[in-house]
Symmetry: C2
Subunit: 222 residues, 2 copies
Amino acid sequence: MTISTNDKRWHKEQLYSLFSQIANAMANPHRLELMDLLAQAPRTVEALANEAQMSVANTSQHLQRLKQARLVLDEREGVYIRYRLAAPSVAGLWLNLREVAAGQLAEVEQALNAYRSQLHEFEQISADVLLTRLRQNEVVLLDVRPTVEYEAGHLPEAVSIPIDELEHRLAELPPDKTIVAYCRGPYCVYADEAMELLAAQGWPVARLEEGVWEWQQAGYAL
Amino acid sequence: MTISTNDKRWHKEQLYSLFSQIANAMANPHRLELMDLLAQAPRTVEALANEAQMSVANTSQHLQRLKQARLVLDEREGVYIRYRLAAPSVAGLWLNLREVAAGQLAEVEQALNAYRSQLHEFEQISADVLLTRLRQNEVVLLDVRPTVEYEAGHLPEAVSIPIDELEHRLAELPPDKTIVAYCRGPYCVYADEAMELLAAQGWPVARLEEGVWEWQQAGYAL
DNA sequence: ATTATATTCAATAAATCTATTGAATTCTTG
DNA sequence: CAAGAATTCAATAGATTTATTGAATATAAT
């Protein structure tokens, strides 16, 4: 065992240490929720704290750990500091993690069924079918995420009515067409809530399970 | 704030908790090294402990954490217990993590340059060029990983000579051809060591940076 | 300058993670 | 069934992580 061999070991351990720093930054449910929110749109600390229902100080500390791992960037904007994902590949890694969790942990499906109690109640529509039916002017695509998220990027031809405002803005939707709702992706309930509301008013409804990232990753354009 | 709203929150937190369990399992340098070894080939606890230079008890505990997160499976085989990655997607996640780390943390490149001191000393060859030159019988593709790893899966037409045995088995290599060495991928030094040895004996050498997983992921067959 | 507001810092206690040690299990083999 | 070997368990101390507080900092507005 020469000195250079031990040296090599040390360098190897350095590398694995660096790799684990990324996993470490993601190894907390709150930080994953923050990443998920930032994958939809950049936001201030306060906005993130509100969405994730945690204290501002706690949110700030978690954001700083993500920043240390270079998973997010911050930028001052007047009184506020706006955080964003550091790169598209970061969102990709988060989606990948979620997918592996769903594949390996049976508990994920159970938890999802409990969270999205209406998961099997309404029709789902695939991206392909959606596109052809959009082209034939048969459906309206409805984005029910908060406005900032819509503005940060949305599906082609999507109309924005945040879930909170939907009840008061039903008049904006054509009464004769099928409404296809989508939100942040398969782990988001907003589109389910929208469909429930719309179906009660007589609309034919369907849901696109994909969110903006999944849509993009499947090779479709925005 | 109704009871059902709090309920939804609770379910959402359950989901993020599950996702973070996967990240948590990966959030340790030793466990990542174990995953990397298992991505090359299934192995017993003892074999893993030797390769990763850690105690058997410690290795066992880390493996059990990976097992709890369903990232690895174990199977008794006589006196031994053999561990393997639970699914191909697990290897994909590990590669993805490593890639993001390389992209986001500048320290990774520094550490890699220190670890692979001969990184820029020898010629690199791309998968495409390798395939055409193999077809034209101009090169020999040499797999210098341990035998178990070669047997678990290797590149087409690759010859196996583990790096430890290379010095004594030089006669098996054709003296007139270029030797293209590969090992576990861009974070492995075996192929560099092989090239150094072969070049000193007069062989023209080159390295394929890809390992078996990267090769497969790029769409090539085994 | 002073005030107000958004964010971060610092300090703390409770909880979790890690490597080490030696003993306990669980197989196979004779 | 007894011996031997591979693996796991249990207990421990030291290190790290977390949420919570209240104070400190930095910028915008007055």
